[in-house]
């Protein structure tokens, strides 16, 4: 027995020894991602004395595909400009919405999170920020910055600020999410009479009649309430909420209210409509593809970046693959004035416990979000700037020579409440698309909605 134990112990020591060697040998080839000190949790452990900020020579950035921020050539031009000015190299990796979150969580667990991450408050503030993984960026905002941002929209800073007062995201761009219709198909089906292409709005009745006309013409699914996952779920939320004026959260962002009977009514309406299908095989991106392909005649996951470059396919603005015209529309509501879901995107910094790298990351944010280079950074995202001016550069007219962008500003006044920072957001959105799947498979709507909202509220209560 003793011998066995001894042998086991011996073997274990050998594992450690061998593997440690392997590690060292390998480290060099590994860029300095691995040489970072293990992550320290600032709230639970006394942080080790931070190394003197000698200036980091390389930082890492992970970006979700926000406009052309998912395109290597575009991003490289931006980071090269930054490197030229500061001497700090930027190593960029590109995340996808389908598995990007998992990768960030895995990296956080392994202590290999990037220095910078680009996404919206629903992740940066409500999740990673709330869980203590992010650096508070409050010291980067002075009164001028605040004034410049608030002049565009007062909700932006609110969404980037956690309830504890810390700012976990430095915003760069924003937009309103909308939906899109295939104009040629609508015309063929005689449904274009229901669209107001001047104001880009329509009513619930218009929408119902239009779907009827389309179904009569094509005899197949014309619009999909996609629910394979959370991708693009702002579209399905906006559709359901606006149809009869339901809400998703209360105004104080303390509880989820989507068991609102008005939402149940909307879901029952959608479920009953021929031509509208609850499709658990599609997520937002897939729906866009089907719309771009012409299979679906309307898309609920749309915004200006899609309008400029449908499906990211590079086949021309406002056109499907077969050349049909695409019109962007507000979501239908009873009186036509809908509350659109906003999107704010910007940068956050993961707390890797290395002051020098945090400092370098802040330099990067300043460079992209508040300098003469901001114009390029905003244009790369093909959304609207969140501020009027950046260190003297006027940003209000950067899209003046772009008629589609100008036309799209008609929708911006409909921007609704940014409720994606409500506590328990991640659980709530998961419960949402699970609820849509349940409704799609024929579960009782009211019961499914009640169960989902209860799950969300359990998470909101903590």
């Amino acid at each position: 027995m003793k011998k066995k134990l001894l042998a086991l112990l011996l073997a274990m020591t050998m594992v450690m020894a061998l593997v440690a060697c392997g590690g060292n040998g390998n480290q060099k080839g590994n860029n300095n991602q691995n040489t970072e000190p293990p992550k320290q949790e600032d709230n639970t452990q006394t942080p080790e004395p931070a190394p003197a900020p000698t200036g980091a020579s390389e930082i890492t950035l992970w970006t979700y595909p926000i406009g052309k921020w998912g395109d290597e050539a575009t991003v490289k031009a931006l980071t090269d400009a930054f490197t030229a000015e500061t001497g700090i190299a930027v190593k960029v990796d590109y995340l996808a919405y389908a598995d990007g979150d998992d990768k960030v969580n895995t990296a956080l667990t392994a202590g290999g999170a990037p220095d910078l991450i680009m996404e919206g408050p629903e992740r940066l503030v409500a999740n990673w920020g709330a869980n203590g993984h992010m650096v508070d960026l409050s010291d980067m905002f002075d009164d001028t910055d605040m004034a410049e941002i608030n002049a565009v929209n007062e909700g932006v800073m609110k969404s980037c600020t956690h309830t504890n007062g810390a700012i976990y995201e430095y915003p760069l761009v924003m937009t309103a999410h909308c939906m899109a219709v295939n104009l040629n198909a609508f015309k063929e089906a005689g449904a274009d009479q229901y669209l107001d292409l001047d104001t880009h709005t329509w009513t619930t009745d218009d929408f119902i009649k239009a779907v009827e006309a389309l179904y009569a013409k094509y005899g197949q699914t014309v619009g999909a309430v996609f629910c394979a996952g959370q991708g693009g779920d702002q579209g399905t939320r906006a559709l359901v909420n606006n149809l009869y004026g339901g809400t998703f959260t209360n105004a104080e962002h303390t509880a989820y209210t989507w068991d609102d009977p008005l939402n149940v009514k909307a879901l029952e309406q959608l479920k009953a409509m021929d031509g509208i299908e609850f499709d658990a095989s599609l997520a937002g991106g897939d729906e866009i593809a089907k719309f771009y392909q012409g299979a679906l005649k309307m898309a609920f996951c749309w915004n200006i970046a899609q309008q400029m470059d449908p499906n990211g396919a590079g086949t021309g603005a406002e056109k499907t693959v077969t050349g049909d015209d695409i019109a962007f529309m507000s979501f239908p509501s009873e009186d036509g004035s809908s509350k659109l879901q906003g999107g704010t995107w910007g940068f956050g910094i993961f707390d890797n416990g290395d002051e020098a790298r945090i400092e370098a990351a802040k330099q990067f944010i300043k460079f992209m979000c508040d300098s003469e280079h901001t114009v390029d950074a905003v244009k790369a995202a093909s959304y609207f700037a969140v501020r009027t001016t950046a260190e003297g550069t006027d940003l209000s007219n950067i899209w003046a020579d772009e008629p589609i962008m100008a036309e799209y500003t008609k929708l911006m006044p409909y921007l609704g409440d940014y409720y994606q920072v409500t506590t328990g957001w991640a659980a709530a959105r998961t419960a949402w698309w699970n609820m849509l799947q349940a409704v799609g498979t024929g579960d009782d709507v009211a019961a499914a909605v009640a169960a989902g909202a209860a799950e969300a509220n359990a998470a909101a209560a903590g």
Partner: protein, 307 residues
């Protein structure tokens, strides 16, 4: 006296065997203990704690068997457990039966034709599970997939089926893909096993007037028992590795119809949900799964010994 010398000698011999045995085992043990057994121990310990992603340290607070109690009430987990066993219990016998039939149909064919068939059935294995999954996703597509197009244009179906979006079909779609990537190796094995069956026994039986079917079951099947057991083992292992299919096709949906325990562990650990990073809970699932699999392996080997 003589006895003593003998026992001394045998002790020396035993020591020699011990040393030699462990020296030969060492390289393998390093990896096995380091990357399977030690993590498994940590897994068992953390399953009794509330360890999570957001607190530092390997172990959180000890909470006894609470995670397991919660699991027993977790509908998604139970559904996943059922799905996991449906996948294994359907695909393993199906793969064995199918490959046995294909092999018995092709093993007497001429060389080039035989190897052509063998190749074709083996191709999905070498194509790679991710590549296969990606192409099947396109084929299953609800709107523009070839499957629906073929079935509706030939009049077999009136309206296309939303293969991956319908809880009634989604799990079967996954099993089909798993099946196509699993039969390659068993077919190769059975073909050669059938070729190696002792012909004198077969002929003797035929002289005695046995029918083809009798010859097959009484003689060939009995001789192929070791091959069958090997196939059972590798197919079972294979069936538990269906993570890629689920992550890339359905992410556990629709309505948890394709959730497996393996996927739910990953989901609980790293998907951005409220319970994300709930490592203690995820590890408890791992422990439950490990117990089931251990029992399954033990059963298989008991059967193997009884052959």
């Amino acid at each position: 006296m003589a006895k003593q010398t003998q026992s001394k000698m045998s002790r020396a011999l035993q020591r020699r065997e011990n040393i030699a045995g462990y020296v030969f085992m060492l390289p393998s043990l390093v990896f096995f203990l380091g990357f399977v057994i030690i993590p498994m121990f940590i897994c068992i310990i953390t399953s009794l704690t509330n360890t999570n992603m957001h607190d530092p340290g390997l172990f959180g607070g000890f909470i006894g068997l609470k995670n397991f109690a919660d699991l027993a009430n977790d509908k998604v987990f139970l559904k996943g457990l059922v799905n996991t066993f449906v996948i294994v219990l359907v695909s393993v016998p199906a793969v064995c039966a199918f490959s046995l039939w294909v092999s018995s149909a092709i093993y007497k064919l001429k060389g080039p034709i035989l190897s052509a068939f063998r190749c074709i059935f083996y191709l999905p294995v070498v194509t790679g599970s991710v590549a296969v999954t990606v192409v099947w996703k396109w084929m299953y597509d609800n709107y523009t997939g070839i499957l629906n197009s073929a079935l509706t244009s030939t009049g077999i179906l009136e309206k296309g089926i939303n293969w991956l979006g319908d809880p009634k079909t989604a799990l079967w779609c996954i099993i089909v893909i798993l099946f196509t990537t699993s039969v390659g190796q068993p077919i190769v094995l059975y073909v050669s096993a059938l070729g190696n069956v002792d012909q004198t026994l077969v002929e003797a039986a035929q002289v005695d007037g046995a029918t083809d079917l009798q010859v097959f079951w009484k003689i060939k099947w009995a001789q192929m028992m070791p091959t069958t057991l090997y196939i059972l083992v590798i197919t079972t292992i294979n069936s538990f590795q269906c993570f890629a299919l689920i992550q890339l096709l359905t992410q556990g949906g629709p309505n948890h119809a394709t959730d497996t325990v393996m996927y739910y562990i990953y989901y609980t650990a790293f998907k951005l949900t409220e319970q994300a990073g709930h490592f203690g809970y995820a590890n408890a699932m791992g422990v439950v799964l490990a117990i089931f699999i251990g029992a399954l392996s033990a059963l298989q080997f008991k059967l193997a010994k009884e052959k």
